[in-house]
Amino acid sequence: MQNPYWPYPVRIDNVITETEDKNLKTFKFIFLNPEDEEKFAYKAGQFAELSITGKGEIPIGIASSPTEKGFVMFTVNKVGLVSSFLHAMRPGDIMGIRGPLGNWYPWEKMEGKNVIIIGGGFAFTTLRSSIIYMLANRSKFKDIHVIYGARSPGMLLYRDELAEWEKRDDINMHITVDATDDPDWKYNVGFVPTITEQKAPPSDGETYAIICGPPIMIKFTQPVLDKLGYDNDHIIMSLENRMKCGIGICGRCNIGKEFVCKDGPVFTLGELNTTPKEY
């Protein structure tokens, strides 16, 4: 019997401090047993439990894309016991990864459709995974728009990649910050809902919007999307509830009868409207 609680052993290969407040670090992991990497076949939007021996586990969205081979990557915000300990770990340290867990963005449905990605703050991780995945399979999708905002330029994740994507003509980037006094800032200034209103294309009836970010951003972006003609079944969200087992067994992360860890974390707004708002 495969033990779904057993984390694959991994080695930390690389650690990058992403943001100016130093609270977000990106960890690149390499599987100790190469065959485990094959077992860890994932899709953009899924998450995994990062297991720190002696401390516990935390559920984190996978930031690397299935099209990137040889490693997996996670960007972790320093909040609790496990994430704080992880932030102090160094390349070469051994830990574990359990997954992939949960469902993923509906790639099958989104094929041949316009996709707009809306992200805020550090919830951009699985969105990075999604962008890399879509760019590697560019012909499968119609127009791609990305609206991504952070408090300040120094709080944006993956800045080098953002700059590269900006240069491409097969993806429309709309990077924004809440405010900045940087005279060289050449992108947008304003909150995500406002930029969405200005830059997001109206739905052609089939356009999918993937939206990840802090609750306040989601709250104010939703009416904008309504106005732009996105119906609830085409607005895709990813939830973050407290989790332990990650496989729908331990009981804590449910919203109604659905477990965020197993039946989610990805839900359409239409689905969420039929469940209690316990997230």
Binding site: P4, Y5, S51, T53, G56, I247, I249, R252, G256, T275
Partner: protein, 352 residues
């Protein structure tokens, strides 16, 4: 299947023989409180109880269970890698489990044994177990099993059903596992099965407590969730978690690492939806931050979410433990009635 007569004078001897082939678990009394324990050599299960304080779930799902062991000593080759500990999954027999507790395992199995994921600890322990049920000749005033998909002589989930018939037991083998157990004990005198049927009818007739669950599946989740009765229902609740710990169908758990010097264990411990920590986010936000939200979760899970998720009735077998042991008398029978009869269109519901 056949019914065997076991003279009470042959009971201890048979159990003795069983202990060669099985680890025996049974109800044992300590300071007037009955609970399931692993029986010591020669120890007999004590059948003088209405029901045990804690359910028999711990025989398969112990309150604390080691999932992995690890070393933090970097001089060890496999440091920081989780290893499954050796565990004893040799055959075990749970003697004297009430039919409600056995039926509960079947409800709980839907959680631990899913098409996508198999919980190896639960499944191995469950499969290693033979459940020898003790029928309830005298069900209690808080037993509502017959309307909770169960009953005092209910057989689903049991391998053998034993009924106390005065100077002897009648034992009905329900599965092959059960037949093998009876054989191993050396109990083989065939008896007339009719008597069990008569006793069953008499016992069922004694059940005076009921719940109605017929309308639960038709309720709209969000409407029931927003019902006005939750605030009053939850008022008295202390959020102590007793109801969840004593419940045979509550399965929630927490996972914790415990270090002892350079080594440690990853273990799971029973957890409870009554506790605020159960759902609190790293950010401090808690989607079930209030007592009322947590009480609602417990009842909605048992009486609505489970019903909708599996289409197999409520997540309750009517054992009545939570009713008997709640320190402030919150009664699932009453709450079930509120839920089952809830009409969002009515200005005041029955509960108000």
């Amino acid at each position: 299947m056949k019914v065997i007569k076991i003279d009470k004078k042959d009971w201890a001897g048979g159990l003795g023989k069983l202990s060669d082939a099985y680890r025996l678990f049974g109800p044992v009394k300590d300071k007037d409180v009955s609970d399931f324990k692993e029986l010591a050599a020669g120890e007999l299960p004590d059948f003088d109880f209405l029901n045990t304080n804690l359910s028999a779930k711990s025989a398969v799902f112990p309150q604390n269970e080691v999932m992995f062991e690890y070393s933090l000593d970097e001089s060890q080759e496999d440091h920081h890698i989780m290893k499954e500990p050796e565990k004893d999954y040799s055959p075990r027999a749970v003697i004297g489990i009430r039919p409600c507790d056995a039926a509960a395992f079947l409800l709980v199995k839907r959680n631990f044994d899913t098409p996508e994921y198999k919980d190896p600890y639960w499944i191995r322990a469950y499969e290693a177990s033979t459940f020898v049920g003790l029928a309830c000749n005298d069900p209690g005033k808080t037993c509502f099993c017959t309307t909770a998909g169960c009953g005092p002589f209910h057989e689903d989930g049991l391998d053998v059903l034993i009924a106390d018939a005065g100077d002897h037991f009648l034992a009905k083998a329900i599965t092959e596992k059960g037949e093998a157990l009876l054989q191993a004990a050396g109990w083989g005198a065939e008896a007339d099965g009719g008597q069990i049927e008569t006793m069953k009818k008499a016992a069922e007739a004694k059940i005076s407590s009921t719940v109605s669950t017929d309308s639960l599946k038709d309720k709209v989740t969000t409407e029931l969730y927003d019902a006005s009765f939750w605030e009053d229902t939850a008022f008295a609740c202390l959020n102590c978690g007793t109801c969840t710990y004593v419940c045979p169908t509550c399965w929630c758990f927490d996972i914790q690492d415990e270090n002892y010097g350079k080594a440690g264990i990853r273990m799971r411990n029973w957890d409870s939806c009554m506790y605020p920590l159960f759902t609190i986010h790293g950010s401090g936000h808690n989607p079930r931050g209030t007592k009322t939200q947590r009480v609602r979760q417990r009842f909605m899970h048992k009486l609505k979410y489970y019903v909708d998720k599996y289409g197999a009735g409520i997540q309750c077998v009517g054992c009545g433990r939570c009713v008997r042991l709640c320190p402030v008398n919150i009664d699932i029978r009453e709450v079930c009635e509120f839920m089952n009869s809830y009409d969002p269109a009515a200005t005041t519901c029955k509960a108000a």
